[in-house]
Structures are given as C-alpha cells and as structure tokens.
Subunit: 295 residues, 2 copies
C-alpha cells in the first residue's frame, strides 16, 4: 500500500541553502515500523541518490525521542554524522519544537545505541562514541603524501569512527584548500589498506583553533565529500591526541570551498584532567525542500 | 531574496515509484526568469545530486507552452530525454492538466529549439531531432566487445544525439542483462575516442520488437544509467538503420533491472517510403515527492 508521508530535504552544516551537505528525511512517526520493509527504504535511498536518506520512526528503547534509520544508496548504516544533525533538525520542525531559545537535550535511537543530542539556537550537536586511534607505517604515510601532493606537519593516524579515516595535517589552511589529489592513486592506496579515505586539515593560523578540512574517499566512489561529520570527529580526535587540550576546547572547521560549498562544523572537545574526554560535533542546518513523499 | 517555489521529484519511464529515473522539477513559472541567476540554478542542481534538475519558466518564443532549463550537477544542457518526459509530467500537474483522456500536443522551449510533445493517458513522448549516425573502425569495435565481455550480432555504430553513444546489439536480452563490463577499461576507450558511453541492447525474441537495454558511461562518472532517454533514441535510430522498417514501428525497451529498477521506454519510428523518418521516445512517469523548495 502506498501512502504520502511528510518529507524534508535538509542542508546540514550551513545556514545558507545549498552550501552544506544534504540529507533527505522521511517522517514515519505516524506509521508503525512494521508497515514498511527494509527493501522499500533502501529503494527510496537508492533513488534519491543522496549520500544518505533517513527515516524517523517512533522510538522503541523507552528512552529516546525518536528512532533513526540511515541509508546510503546501497546499504543501511548504524550511524552517520551529518544525517544525524539534519534529521534532528527535521524532527524538531516536524514536531513544532524548532523555535525554542533554550538549550535542550534529545536522544536518537539508532544502530549504535541512544545518541545524545544537544540543541541550542543555531546549533545541533551529537556526542560521539569513543573511537580507536591507530598508528600508520612511515611507508604508508609517504604513499599518502605523494598521492595528495602535500607534506604533513605531524604524524598522521588512522581513526576508526565507522568509516576508517586516515587523518593528515598539512602546512596551513591554504595548502589544504589547494591540494589536488591523484584520485586514482589515492583510491588504490585506500583499497589496498582497507581504509575508507582521507581527512586532510590545515590550520587557519588565527590562533582561534580554526581549520580548513577536506574529505576524500575515491575508493568508495566519493572523490570529495562536501561536508563530513565523521571526518570532523576524526579530525578533532586527532587534534586532541596531538595537542592534549586539558580544558574544554572548541574547534571551528570550514569545509567544501573547492566544491562551491561552505560548510561550517563546530567540534567540541570536553576534557578535564582525570576524567574521560568526550567529543561533540555540531552545526546549523536549514530545510531547503519540504512536502510529501510516496512510500 | 529567497522564496519558496513549487517542487516535484518525478520518477520517469515507470508507473511504480522508485523503479524509474528521477528528475527534480522546480516550477518557476510564477516568477520572471531574470529573478534567478544561472549560478543559483546550478547550485541547486549540484546539491540535489540527481543526474538532472530542471526549471520550468514562462516561454519566450511565442509558440511553446513552457521553457525548460536542464542542469546536471556540473553544467546546463540544451536537451535531455528523461528530464523532458518528467518535466512535462510535472508541468501538467502544476497546471492541473494531467487528468485529460484526450491525446494532446505541447511544445517545450529549450536549448535545441521548440520540442514537440505528445501526451496521451499513460504516455508522454517527445519527437527527437534528426541525428547523425557514424561508422566505427573494426579495431575500436573489438576494444568495446572485449571491455563489455560480449559479442555483437550486427555492426555497432556511433550516434551523436547530444551525448555520443556507441550502440551495440548483442545475442539476446539475457546476454545484455548479464553483461559485466570492465568499467576501467570502458572508461579508457570512451575517453580516448571522445565517446560519452555505450548503449547495449539485446532482443527479447518474442517477435514483438521488445528489447533489454543498458547504458554505461563510466568516463562521465556514471557507471550505469538506470533508464536513459537519449540512449533509447540512439538505440531505435540504430534499429531503423539496421532493419529499415517501412511502416510505423513501436519498439518496447526495458532498462535498469540490474540496478533494481524496471524502466519501460516506448520508442516509435514513424516512417513511410518517400518521407522523412521521425523518432519518438516516451513513457509514463509518477510524482514521488511534491512540495516546496527554497530558491
């Protein structure tokens, strides 16, 4: 049976429509999850051709505000960054909760558990799961430097945050922006090591913890991702490893300029000596398309 | 200035949502074309990530029903097949003309002139411009056969219909469906000869002019196009060259099965001895998403 369900296509990590990263969000909170099959959801996500399409359902864990199912064009994901921010924006609008000036906490049930979201005016953030960080052989680093045409200013690491990102820090923001990777070579290196892709960062040199960032994953058919939440998470986790901030530190990340986008991601490292460090990724989002979808 | 305009995302060459080829259509007939820039339209089309996004404007040629501007994620096109069928569907719905049981003629102003459209219940067809057909060297044909892993049952040709398609006919529908191209090799051959890609067809052997068809354009970053109007046009033009139908002949084309789609394209070759042969491509379409978009 085919029905119309509420639909939004939200632009994430931006306040300016078409400058961020889109996600399609379908509001299934008015139906029972058993009324749709995984195949149906997958066929919609294959058809939208967006990096992710999400479906909001009523929560089933007794503690979350909604359940989110996230699909790429070819598979279902347990979690993803920009789709989480965009889907929370859509949830707030669908449920008429988007106008509050208070800072509020919500929970998103998804494949990795119940993810904590902090919503304040102009910003939706998620608290990331703890992630592993791994060393890379010098020979592998040299391969990446050659394929990216850059030099690094600190030892690159491998971050497993869902995707397996190799994080590299180059001279400065301009060097990051100017990088012209050899995509064929990069795809080959990533594939041979089982890495998803590369996160390249460069400091803006304004003393404000501001960085330019780019994300390349040619072996997954994404030459360059315009604005990447899991990449930003990997990047701030890497910066903490490098700089060991002992007080809460906010990292401002710009991404997408070379693709005509202008994504703005806020990374927050919450740390105090003797306690566990937590990582938070957030930004603003704007709904560009709204209406109904056949499902 | 940002405004909301009517939006539809239409599934083309199918009656079953998510089984055809999508196009996003924005109704700009309520504003003046000078109120938006090409850069704005391009940025929307880059963001939707669909093969084509179109914009309906008031016509300016004094004879068409509407003007259509067609954008891929990276450039504006003078014409394209499935976006024309889908945009006409959206135009009919936007203007409350979709319910008629009559066969009617409309005209679409676009980069190649005023294109004639025939609308009947369950079918929207466009009359194609006359197209050139060119020979291919045997050595080049052999390269394609090797890259596609198929053999041909007639001499392949090059069709210039906007994209430059190499059209090949293999043993039968099953051989076409089963083909597993070497995409890297195919991309290399296409790029070295300035071809856009390959149209592969195979007869269903039901004596009804029914064919399975596939479209590959890996050098343009489209490994396989699910349902392809310009490919179907090239294919029926090729069949006419091969078979020289002397009476009007309808060709039924199925496409997209290997991608989980089920596109149905109707090709009509109108010919009578002594008169110019004309080619018509059509099919049904269904609106899957409707609402408003910020522009």
């Amino acid at each position: 049976m085919s029905r119309h369900l509420p639909f939004k296509q939200v632009d994430v990590f931006t306040t300016v429509p078409y400058k961020g990263n889109p996600v399609a969000v379908i509001n299934c909170m008015g139906i029972d999850e058993s009324e749709v099959t995984k195949e149906q959801l997958q066929s919609v996500a294959n058809w939208t051709n967006l990096s992710e399409t999400t479906f909001l359902f009523k929560p089933t864990d007794g503690k979350s505000d909604y359940k989110l199912r996230i699909f790429t064009p070819v598979s279902e994901l347990p979690f993803a960054g920009h789709p989480t921010v965009g889907s929370c924006k859509a949830f707030l609008e669908f449920t008429n909760q988007s106008e509050s000036q208070e800072t509020r906490t919500f929970h998103q049930q998804c494949g990795v558990g119940s993810v904590e979201l902090t919503v304040s005016p102009g910003k939706i953030s998620f608290k990331a799961a703890q992630t592993a960080i791994e060393e890379l052989d010098d020979a592998v680093v040299a391969q990446y430097e050659a394929a990216l045409g850059i030099s690094t200013v600190a030892k690159p690491k491998l971050l497993r945050v869902g995707p397996n990102w190799v994080v590299l820090l180059t001279d400065d923001a301009q060097a990051c922006y100017n990088a012209n990777p050899d995509f064929a070579k990069l795809a080959e290196i990533d594939a041979s090591h089982g890495h998803s892709g590369v996160i390249l960062g460069g400091a803006k040199g304004d003393g404000e913890h501001s960085y330019e960032m780019r994300a390349f994953a040619p072996s997954l058919n994404v030459k360059e991702d315009p604005v990447c939440g899991s990449g930003a998470l990997s990047f701030i986790r890497y910066l903490q490893e490098l700089n060991g901030y002992s007080e809460p530190t906010e990292i401002s990340i710009s991404q997408g300029g070379r693709l005509g986008r202008n994504g703005q991601i806020s990374g927050l490292i919450k740390t105090k000596s003797g306690t566990t460090t937590t990582y938070h990724i957030g930004g603003d989002a704007v709904t560009a398309i709204e209406g109904q979808i056949l499902l």
